[in-house]
Amino acid sequence: MSTDNTAHAGKHHFAHHFKSAEHEYEASKQGIWLFMATEILMFGAIFVAYGIFHALYPDMFAEGASHLDWKMGFINTCVLLLSSYTMAMAIQSLQSKQGKKAVPYLAVTILCGAIFMVIKYFEYTHKFHMGIYPGKWFQYEGAQHSNLALYFSFYFVMSGLHGIHVLIGMSLITWVMIRAMRGDFDEHYYTPVEGVGLFWHIVDLIWIYLFPILYLIG
């Protein structure tokens, strides 16, 4: 069995139960893909529920969507797309031996995540001021449909679960950014950045669907 870690200048040595650094990389990434599959299953179930209730009460969902400002959702979509780009570029810099560029790219990614959450905060507090709360706490007076609370339960669960993912993603990117500043990564070893990157792109992927279904179609 050949061990090729001696051929690498990087500090990282693959764990002894792997036969090579590449083997370790592939196994780690496969684990992340399995995790990503569970994310699709979790959000997918909520999307299916949304689709069915939307088909049952189209007018009520249209009323719900009319309470959301699509401009906010639009800005957030652009911000998240930009953050996905900077995340991909952070990995690209590491791969192409320009690891120093990775840190500013990761910093911009975190900043975009923060902008997204600030906009979400303003949207949520605006809803709370109107008495629009999730589930049984819903106390908005001007509802035209008696079951408008159902739309906002979907809104808060979907965007809330997504928001939690953004916060977790930001924490993970901070972690890999600190490690990148420490010089842990190079073109031979960047597995944690790749894994965190996949997670961050999933967050973007889900928002790509959430924006039209919550803000536009309703």
């Binding site: 590449e22 592939e26 780009y85």
Partner: protein
């Protein structure tokens, strides 16, 4: 499996910039179509645009285009099961509820 690390496919930076541009243009398109009030077509149009964006994100940002077959299958399986869940729920609800439910 090739143990040489340098075999990882490196996507040129220009491609990522093009992908970002494409995604932003598609986002603008979604909003333009929304403001045109397409009625019954609004939902399918928005869904097709969103799916196009999702495929591009998966292929390039997530490097799926250059990933191993097994990882593609793992991820694809999740979508298959979501589709299965959707089909059976829709079959049940839209054949039974209009007939005998108070919903």
């Amino acid at each position: 499996m090739d143990s040489n690390h340098s075999t990882h496919h490196v996507v040129p930076a220009k491609v990522f910039a093009l992908v970002l541009g494409f995604l932003l243009v598609m986002t603008f398109l979604t909003v333009i179509f929304h403001n045109m009030h397409l009625g019954a077509l609004a939902a399918p149009v928005a869904f097709i645009i969103a799916t196009t964006k999702a495929v591009v994100v998966m292929a390039y940002f997530m490097h799926m285009k250059y990933d191993t077959l097994i990882n593609k299958i793992i991820f694809g399986t999740a979508f298959f099961f979501v589709a299965l869940l959707c089909i059976f729920c829709v079959l049940d609800i839209f054949t039974r509820i209009p007939v005998q439910s108070t919903l």
